[in-house]
Symmetry: D2
Subunit: 358 residues, 4 copies
Amino acid sequence: MSDSTEKNSLNNYLETQEFYSFRNDYSEGAHPNILNALLQTNFKQQNGYGTDDYSQKAIELLRHKLQNANADIHFVSGGTQANLVVISSILRPYESVIAANTGHIHVHETGAVEATGHKINVVDSKDGKLTPKNIQRVLEEHTDEHMVKPRMVFISNSTEIGTIYKKKELEELFCFCKSNGLLLYLDGARLASALSSQESDLSLPDLSKLVDVFYIGGTKNGALLGEAIVINNDALKLNFRFHLKQKGALLAKGRLLGLQFIELFKENLYFNLAKHANLMAFKLSETIEGLGYKFLTHSSTNQIFPILPNKVIEQLSKKYLFYIWSKIDGEMSAIRLVTSWATEEYAVDSFIKDLESF
Amino acid sequence: MSDSTEKNSLNNYLETQEFYSFRNDYSEGAHPNILNALLQTNFKQQNGYGTDDYSQKAIELLRHKLQNANADIHFVSGGTQANLVVISSILRPYESVIAANTGHIHVHETGAVEATGHKINVVDSKDGKLTPKNIQRVLEEHTDEHMVKPRMVFISNSTEIGTIYKKKELEELFCFCKSNGLLLYLDGARLASALSSQESDLSLPDLSKLVDVFYIGGTKNGALLGEAIVINNDALKLNFRFHLKQKGALLAKGRLLGLQFIELFKENLYFNLAKHANLMAFKLSETIEGLGYKFLTHSSTNQIFPILPNKVIEQLSKKYLFYIWSKIDGEMSAIRLVTSWATEEYAVDSFIKDLESF
Amino acid sequence: MSDSTEKNSLNNYLETQEFYSFRNDYSEGAHPNILNALLQTNFKQQNGYGTDDYSQKAIELLRHKLQNANADIHFVSGGTQANLVVISSILRPYESVIAANTGHIHVHETGAVEATGHKINVVDSKDGKLTPKNIQRVLEEHTDEHMVKPRMVFISNSTEIGTIYKKKELEELFCFCKSNGLLLYLDGARLASALSSQESDLSLPDLSKLVDVFYIGGTKNGALLGEAIVINNDALKLNFRFHLKQKGALLAKGRLLGLQFIELFKENLYFNLAKHANLMAFKLSETIEGLGYKFLTHSSTNQIFPILPNKVIEQLSKKYLFYIWSKIDGEMSAIRLVTSWATEEYAVDSFIKDLESF
Amino acid sequence: MSDSTEKNSLNNYLETQEFYSFRNDYSEGAHPNILNALLQTNFKQQNGYGTDDYSQKAIELLRHKLQNANADIHFVSGGTQANLVVISSILRPYESVIAANTGHIHVHETGAVEATGHKINVVDSKDGKLTPKNIQRVLEEHTDEHMVKPRMVFISNSTEIGTIYKKKELEELFCFCKSNGLLLYLDGARLASALSSQESDLSLPDLSKLVDVFYIGGTKNGALLGEAIVINNDALKLNFRFHLKQKGALLAKGRLLGLQFIELFKENLYFNLAKHANLMAFKLSETIEGLGYKFLTHSSTNQIFPILPNKVIEQLSKKYLFYIWSKIDGEMSAIRLVTSWATEEYAVDSFIKDLESF
């Protein structure tokens, strides 16, 4: 290839696009406000590794929104990174973390938690959620020094299969954890969608009181990258930046993370984006339900899992990208449709129209 | 603080700036071409985790520039992350990596390599470089299974103290490594500055032949974040993406990394930026030398370490930011001045003028 | 306490013993031949760390018995140590090991495998054994770099619940592993009992052909301590002693391990001891079955799991030590009875008589 | 080889021995009292994993000797195992341990400490000992989260090169540690020889007050195997058995360890054995000094490092086994001579006579 051909081909960023993707909520770049802020601040000199003005401002802003002036807040670049740093920072070598069988750390992080030395105690859960009852069983099975000692409970909100925790459920879980010497950690990769769900009665400040640590996901809700780890429990705050650096999680230009969280939270952008995503999912699920199809789980968030005939799925696959989640029987499969802050309503309408026409 | 005050303060990104910083090469954002490319491609839907079109194009482009069609290339978010993933992906549990006492992995990465289970064999080196001779001594000291087995050699170009490897030095080192069953890894956080140095006789394609693995640093040469790991040695390529995912190094929006490397390499931007940084450093060092001051090391790159009277340093500190590197004696100290792609010539001129006036 | 009181109390090793224990197969010391050999060789000077004459002779002897002159053999002090060293020596960081839910590494080793960085993929199994079918399912679920890569299969013979593998089962398993790029590892903590079972058609030489690595358990069959790791697969032999040393598994006086394996294998002691243990278990189970009781699993080895009325268990507990394994219902529980090389027949007879009398 | 030949060769434990070894202090088996105790207690049924009566008695006995009723005491099988379990049980992931360049954990444990994730900060030391001054320098170099945080100080008594700590030195070190938030750990592989040295003013009870953790070495002073870890600092005691089990350090027949420490400590055997070893070393060094030779270090323990002409070394090598430690110049080398509880005086006399004759 000659250099000039190369240049032409590379400059041509906007190629033909044949499919519309409902595969995930990170298919597009970032909300324009974020890119605009990057441009606006680009040549301002800043300290490195998260000690810049923007990160400091973002921390203050989040503390304000969380109504928790003592929260320890750190920005990292992704969810797996957040999970492995948080979990390994807390557990002693022989301690384990309890998670649902659908939990992201158990299934989809290439053994990142085990790679830091810790076992995951897996609990079967149909709706992706943990309850005092199924945690209790794990505790009863771990009785002495020949077994790991469960010390942390890992939950996701929304869960990996679209469900959410109600406030009462979270209160009971946290209370159970405190009574049993367990720490509660919430993976908030899709926290925006969960809290913005019509069925949610949880608020951001509630999380300051009902979990020991959690993270506020940016990547899947309009940021280029970035998750904000929030440590409520004082005992877990010590020297957290050492853990971040050791695991390669401190960005030299930490400003990039701080800036984005300022944009997402200085007004209500973070929740507005999630509301749009949820609305698009709701439009899809309402129609699908109206057509008489069932769902794998009940979801009020931006991931839905309709069960469709394989023939219909085949037709849809010609125009739309999505994952086939699981086989139901010889004729039906569950698919996963994910909407996002950037999902265009025309695409949803088109999907609906196509589905109705089959 | 009321919400409206908060908002005003947060929107006001451009505050008064009193100091000009020569502290590092990551004080500013990114080269405008990069931000522009982000804007231009923002709503194009892409696959996640580095399987997007931009990352694929960036890989092809880099292979072309490296003249190595078989290079395995992966983008990560920072240097510590690159180092820990590469090193832990290669070494068996009992194997170690040899590094200079100034080596970044030894001093400034919070034990990231040891945290993956591997010892660093440290070699004292005045100029920050390793030679067959000092590696040979490490090999001779490690004779049986009661000691780790050195397996990898870690070098940086430019080194952490501004020096560079000449082609002949790298050839001898690689040849020695191959004769002794060692793998050679080059940390290229500041590779652009090294290769663009007036004293360098190394080219990018040379690195395809003279090291087993290296990374091309983006963060310190105009990117928002991003380093390109290049694996030349076929034996080290297997399943590398598993390592990346496990260590939290796969960004969901990998497009962000791919896009930046396209911008840096589609024309000559990467090296042009480094040339500017080197030129600014050269201007500083030429003047400093002219004033009769000495340097801690001989540097032809963007980091210089002049030895100045403490009184002069105190005066300079009122207008400029930089690190005091080491005490020389009661009256003199070495400082580190770092220039970058974004260093403005007026600031260099101002620094020079001030220095000449003391 | 005065020194003289102390001395008296300590010298009095043979105290009153009220209970007879069927708790495990490591309640007594070692077979007298072993103690005798220790006495006989005590002042012979030997090299350290397993390079002594006795260890070398034991290795030759085992190779002879295994009919495998190329087997790589190493002695360690216990089963958990054997498991963690073998597994961590073989797997690359992102690779996992498949085990039954009853597998010792999953349940009873305090996360030792995870502490070396590796996930265990757990398979539910009623009889404690793995089959190609249930391994196949694990493989199907692990499709890309977001998940660990299963690489090793861990089985125990006899299993943790007393069952054994037949030759055909092991052949099928090994064949399946080879067809799927998996390594087969057999935990032989109770290998003697398994191979000596009346129902077993497996021989020691068979294991040279049907697994990649295994260990021959000494601790639970008459040794003071000691397991012999046998590596059949050439690819897994490299530098194994480095792994041993790093994990604290090389005894300075390795002679202690070598000597014991000479005693166990120079004639047929190893299998004779196991036959006694099995016979004692058989006597127990035959009677228990005759009394109309059922068992949790079918066992032809030295661990049996009869299901008895809680009232009977309570009575037995006044004279015998054993573990209550699991509740069956409100009235019945399964207990574990373990016999050993040292179990005295009078104790078995007494247990039987007591049981018949309730 | 036929089975009968095999048997004959294996039964013949007492072969011709041509060399007398001064290589180490673990060339022989165990003190006869220990073997006798094993025989005497062999068929007594005991609980497993260190919960047996003998281990409990040994713990009580050691607490009595240490004059520390609250000491937490655990028996393990070797020094590397003791070191890796203790260190990894205490340090958080980003914390490091400071050791002398001669320290066993740095040089001779195949990176066992790093394999648990922790960096060793190495301090150059001519006499193998650490002082507040050289530790202070390490602390000053570690200033922020880009570096590990030194948290523990590792010392050996006697050191790996035969020197010992005086009470005042240890007091100063411990005081310095306490003032600087550091934990002091003492490797007592050769503690018996150190405390029994004519030059030592330290007692066993002193160690209850002057270190946070230490271990009392058995393997190198008459035991078959076994070290007693003693935890003085309450903060370090929690759940220590979990660490032991996870690292494969809990022996099923823990009785083997407990029994040996009873024998060593119920009267004064432990120190009597060390006195003999020291006396044999003293006889050697007195003669060597008398002949006008110098030593690499000043040693009053059972390891001495005389500097001899290479020609003399060559002659001695025909009858005695020992390590050549280091080259001094073209004509002279330092050798290491180690005596033990089992060193026979006739061998020392013979060595002396031979040396005098050259």
